[in-house]
Point group: C2
Chain length 365, copies 2
Amino acid sequence: MASKKLLLLPGDGIGPEAMNEVKKLIAAMNETLKSGFETEEGLVGGCAYDAHGQAVSDADMEKAMAADAVLFGAVGGPKWDAVPYEVRPEAGLLRLRKDLELFANLRPAICYPALAESSSLKPEVVEGLDILIVRELTGGVYFGEPKQIIDLGNGQKRGIDTQVYDTFEIERISGVAFELARTRKNHVTSMEKRNVMKSGVLWNEVVTATHKARYSDVKLDHMLADAGGMQLVRWPKQFDVIVTDNLFGDMLSDIAAMLTGSIGMLPSASLGAPDGKTGKRKALYEPVHGSAPDIAGQGIANPIAMIASFAMCLRYSFNMVEEADRVEAAIAAVLDEGLRTADIMSEGKTQVGTVEMGDAIVAKF
Amino acid sequence: MASKKLLLLPGDGIGPEAMNEVKKLIAAMNETLKSGFETEEGLVGGCAYDAHGQAVSDADMEKAMAADAVLFGAVGGPKWDAVPYEVRPEAGLLRLRKDLELFANLRPAICYPALAESSSLKPEVVEGLDILIVRELTGGVYFGEPKQIIDLGNGQKRGIDTQVYDTFEIERISGVAFELARTRKNHVTSMEKRNVMKSGVLWNEVVTATHKARYSDVKLDHMLADAGGMQLVRWPKQFDVIVTDNLFGDMLSDIAAMLTGSIGMLPSASLGAPDGKTGKRKALYEPVHGSAPDIAGQGIANPIAMIASFAMCLRYSFNMVEEADRVEAAIAAVLDEGLRTADIMSEGKTQVGTVEMGDAIVAKF
Ligand SMILES: CC(C)[C@H](C(=O)O)[C@@H](O)C(=O)O
Ligand SMILES: CC(C)[C@H](C(=O)O)[C@@H](O)C(=O)O
């Protein structure tokens, strides 16, 4: 691989603190392994709005386009609650996803053995949990038009959003889910609301056809999204890969993350289609947790999700499988040794801050 | 109250078995208390389709319009998976909701003390849980137009659904939530995705304005719906009343129900606006669980959610508060005595069938 250009977008809240720990790891890899990562930085979210009135600038979008991968922290906070809708912090993230065509969002929900007891679920329900939510990320109600508020007069307004899915969008996201299932337990569960939504009817039809045409070796189940949410809470281990649309994926992946008791630990990857010539795909990696403005700047945030997102980056963008394994092993090792940030602290463990946690992981790497 | 006309729509799957137990209770009340309930029956769902090719007939809709309350069992099953979208079983339920203008769906999520251990969540997380989800039921993506699948040619189709909310719809559902909160812990949490959806922006604005104008004595919080789902799983007792739209309400109320470990126990009420003259409101009562075709006809279904739905009917449609309390007390009493249907069975308890459970509750009443 010729270039290894990373764009770092730390964002708001605890984003910058978490990103700092990744920077240390990158520096260490460049020094000891000669990994040759080149990093640039940009602004996204509230900080970008403060700097130049946009949730992400065109210049930073160009950097993102040119990068081999983007590492993204988190955006948003009460400071920007009243900014106009078009330039709210989230608009930066949504523009990155849309303009880079990152249609496939991979959200593993893994229960770290050392943390099973910090889940609100019974240990036997979550111990050993390892599921992967594959969420469609560039379609659906997030981007469909019309999306507007109309003034009807008489004090009445109308808010409209449009859920739209085309065959090809459902085909390509289900292809990703089936391919990944083959590397796992070979089981895909597709979730929609076909009993209420026409897009759900089409979703069901296209997933079924894609399965029949190209992936009939994979076990496929269909579940209504509301029942799917219930089943996630009841017995999540029945799932391997879940494929679903943008909005259901938003809800279901957050719930899956919370089950593990490790929301501060979970990474995600957002991938584009492989380039026809080079085979490279655009990619953005981000923790599942948000910007947590209430604890920002205190040095107590958990950097593990951000570091684990970098491990996904090594794996998916640079095929550095061994290095990715080593990062993940380093995370598991510090947890086994009893180090905990405040969010995952429990009796008898050693509470540490963001920097100490990052240092410990880099040292183990 | 002059008339007490009930329309019973048992529906499909375990619906009829569960409804039979309510019929016994109605008969007992008519006999011992001279309650004067008049019942009629109709078809809805797959059985209505089998009988006359519609998910609910015009004649049964007329009966529903004329009734003081509708008791609804459940609809759907694999038998009708391939029927046309317009006449699928769920269409019957959706038509009832829409044509009766039942905009307010009340879904209590209560953890029966006797059943705390059957939850997948830790007992301390769910013990004593008592929250109420107020779901908007006649708007949003369920009914918005356009709702269609378009053939784009070249093997491509487009599935479209439209999420629409008007000011007055949000106003009236939040009014219901605030009113109910006043009879409870005086706390409402409103959930939407205003960071992504324009309807969410309007939702947030109107709930805030309604609160300010008429309910400023009630504590109001706003939460993004994905974060709300997480918080439900993490620590549900932080909530009292949750108010949300049709689709988020569908997801969140099912998750809340599953938390309690008592999905076979939970009732719901769907209410219209009070009539300007009589003050009466149209109403439909249904269990939160579905038709469970896999166990239908075996006499093992749990009738408690259906019976508890009738208790809600006594309370909300006939102001028979004392009788409602007595039904709920009878349910709690049989549970305390150790009677369990298969879905809630645990060691040391006495397993009974649908009929035995119904009989035991009627006997305690
Ligand atoms: C920040 C927000 C726009 C985003 C989303 O809704 O997709 C977030 O919740 C997520 O899941 O990544
Ligand atoms: C049966 C179905 C149409 C219905 C819904 O989606 O509203 C059900 O899931 C419910 O929650 O009552």
